[in-house]
């Protein structure tokens, strides 16, 4: 066996090293030194994130383990994007995880989080369905334990039972689809499946595709598989919610693209083009309509993230490198905008325990900086021009339209109309914070140092990612060399 192929997995191995160091420190450090655990985890992960960006410039494209595992510069890039998100989540969660009820278990929180990230890496890099399923499960099962982390809150239990039952249900459906694929092609390698099913669709391929899309759609919370999203997002502890909505969704979206293109790319027009259109339209529209009536901020962001998942899916429609680049860029921008919103929600929840939109009335008078960060996050999520969210939407629409059929134009038109609807409910939050004259129910408070660091990073990302065009150009060159299409 050629052991040098392990070098291709350098990101996985580095993550594993971080995990082991955190685990060993948590287990063997003397009681007095345990207080430094959060700091050490953030520092280790920060070093790893920066090192990841330094090495991805010279990324290689290759496969390992008989083609089961693949890496390329764009794959290294999406992993780095996820790392940035995880780093921000880790920084933002320090205050929460060190409160009285969770402080003894905070090691578990970090370990579970790093293990799920490892699973997502496998999902992204897998070129064989066995490895993919293992990655999918190790990404979603520890998350259920993390959702149940707040033992004192009843909602946390409720959310976790809803999450685990729907996750197992969806993975069972997904694996049923895989068994059909296996029956059709006699292999679980993506490339061999592509060759075996050819370009002619049959009822069995359509059935298998529907099952596979339903299974991954659950993870991505595409409508009509989104019903768990709002409940789980509301019940889970807020750092876990932000992790679920950004990292889990981003990795699943990328893996979804890889599966659809690499296994079923040949039957695109025959079998799943219209399936995808219907899913995208439903996801964006229903996510938006339900977001309008939410009063709880976490539920509100849950439905907003459902509709954002629809926009991310637009990157697949184009079936070209531009779509892939636009998708990765969208995920990057979404990481910053959504984590900024969750950062504000967390800071307020940790200090006052309030998560209702009505509590945010007049927030700008008592906490102007937090309101400002929230406003930028909402503008970016809605896609208002100078901020990053506008550019990510612009690129993803351009990439979709590039394919140039009437159906695509209609699809993009519907997505554009939905952007306007989303503007309404994002601005509801801004209106509550800035225009409402009622005295605020939230006192002025000083947010913790880590909250502030997290917010500064995310706000800087929102402002600069759109303007610094080199980011998108770099992603585009990586995507063109990906060899996926």
């Amino acid at each position: 066996m050629d052991y040098s192929q392990f070098l291709l997995m350098k990101q996985e191995i580095a993550l594993l090293v971080v995990f082991l160091l955190v685990f060993l420190y948590d287990t063997f450090a003397p009681k007095k030194a345990l207080g430094a655990l959060s700091g050490i985890t953030c520092a280790l992960f920060g070093i790893y994130t920066i090192a990841g960006f330094c090495t991805c410039v010279t990324g290689v494209s290759d496969t390992a383990f008989a083609g089961m595992y693949a890496t390329s510069p764009i794959i290294a890039m999406i992993k780095n994007v996820l790392n940035v998100g995880v780093l921000i989540v880790l920084i933002q969660s320090v205050k929460w995880v060190n409160n009285d009820s969770t402080v003894v278990r905070r090691g578990e929180f970090y370990e579970l989080l790093l293990v799920t990230l490892f699973g997502m890496y496998l999902m992204i890099s897998a070129r064989h369905f066995l490895l993919f399923v293992i990655g999918l499960e190790s990404a979603s099962l520890p998350l259920a334990a993390m959702v149940a982390f707040d033992k004192k809150r009843y909602e946390s239990h409720e959310a976790s039972i809803k999450y685990i039952l729907t996750a197992v249900f969806s993975s069972a459906i997904f694996m049923m689809g895989l068994s059909f694929v296996y029956g059709l092609s006699g292999s679980l390698y993506f490339s061999e499946i592509y060759g075996a099913i050819g370009s002619v669709s049959s009822p069995m391929i359509i059935c298998a595709l529907a099952f596979v899309i339903a299974g991954v759609g659950f993870k991505l919370s595409l409508v009509p598989f989104h019903l768990w999203t709002a409940d789980v997002y509301q019940g889970a502890p807020t750092p876990v919610t932000s992790y679920l909505s950004v990292i889990s969704k981003g990795s699943a979206a990328f893996a979804f693209l890889v599966i659809l293109v690499q296994c079923f790319g040949a039957v695109y027009e025959d079998a799943w083009e219209w399936m995808l259109y219907a899913l995208i339209i439903l996801t964006i529209t229903i996510g938006n309509l339900f977001a309008i009536r939410q009063r709880n901020m976490k539920r509100f962001l849950a439905f907003s993230s459902v509709s954002q998942a629809g926009y991310i899916m637009l990157g697949i429609v184009g079936m070209n490198a531009m779509g892939l680049a636009a998708m990765v860029y969208y995920i990057l921008v979404y990481v910053f905008s959504n984590l900024a919103a969750f950062g504000v929600i967390q800071a307020i929840e940790n200090n006052t325990g309030k998560v209702d939109m009505d509590d945010y009335r007049g927030l700008s008078k008592t906490n102007p900086k937090l309101s400002f960060a929230m406003m930028l996050a909402m503008f970016s999520l809605a896609g208002i021009p100078p901020f990053a969210g506008f550019f990510s939407k612009f690129f993803i629409f351009t990439a979709a339209i590039n394919q140039g059929s009437i159906a695509i134009y209609v699809l993009v038109l519907i997505a554009l109309i939905n952007t306007i609807i989303s503007l309404y409910y994002y601005l509801l939050v801004v209106k509550a914070m800035y225009i409402s004259d009622e005295p605020s129910t939230i006192e002025r408070f000083k947010s913790s140092c880590t909250d502030r660091v997290g917010l500064i990073i995310t706000v800087a990302g929102i402002i600069f990612l759109g303007i610094v065009s080199v980011v998108y150009n770099h992603i585009l060159t990586l995507a063109e060399r990906s060899g996926l299409f």
Binding site: I134, A145, Y154, I164, L165, V168, S171, A172, G183
Partner: protein
């Protein structure tokens, strides 16, 4: 009488359908979990049958089944732990009572 793949695939599909039906209609969380197990087991059976009858020269389906069984066990263990948690908080494992968060 020759026993061909169909004799295994049809029971497997019926098992899967029963699992889906049970998951949707049962109100007890343990019963729902059992239904999920039915679905996962029918997947395993499908893989083994496809491997045995259609591609006897290789072992890929069998290996997948082995891993799927392990994954199903992990899922069940975690789900049971969470159900115990819910029972402690709620004194009940009826899903109709898990309805604090809605719409």
């Amino acid at each position: 009488m020759e026993i061909n793949a169909l004799y295994y695939l049809i029971p497997s599909l019926i098992m899967f359908a029963c699992g889906v039906y049970g998951f949707i209609t049962r109100r007890n969380m343990i019963a729902m979990l059992i239904s999920l197990e039915l679905m996962l087991n029918s997947v395993d059976m499908n893989f083994v049958v496809f491997n045995r009858f259609l591609f006897p020269g290789q072992m890929e389906g069998m290996f997948f089944t082995l891993f799927a069984i392990a994954i199903a066990a992990a899922e069940t263990a975690l789900a049971i732990a969470i159900i115990v948690n819910v029972y402690r908080a709620n004194n009940d494992i009826d899903v109709r009572d898990i309805c604090k968060m809605k719409f």
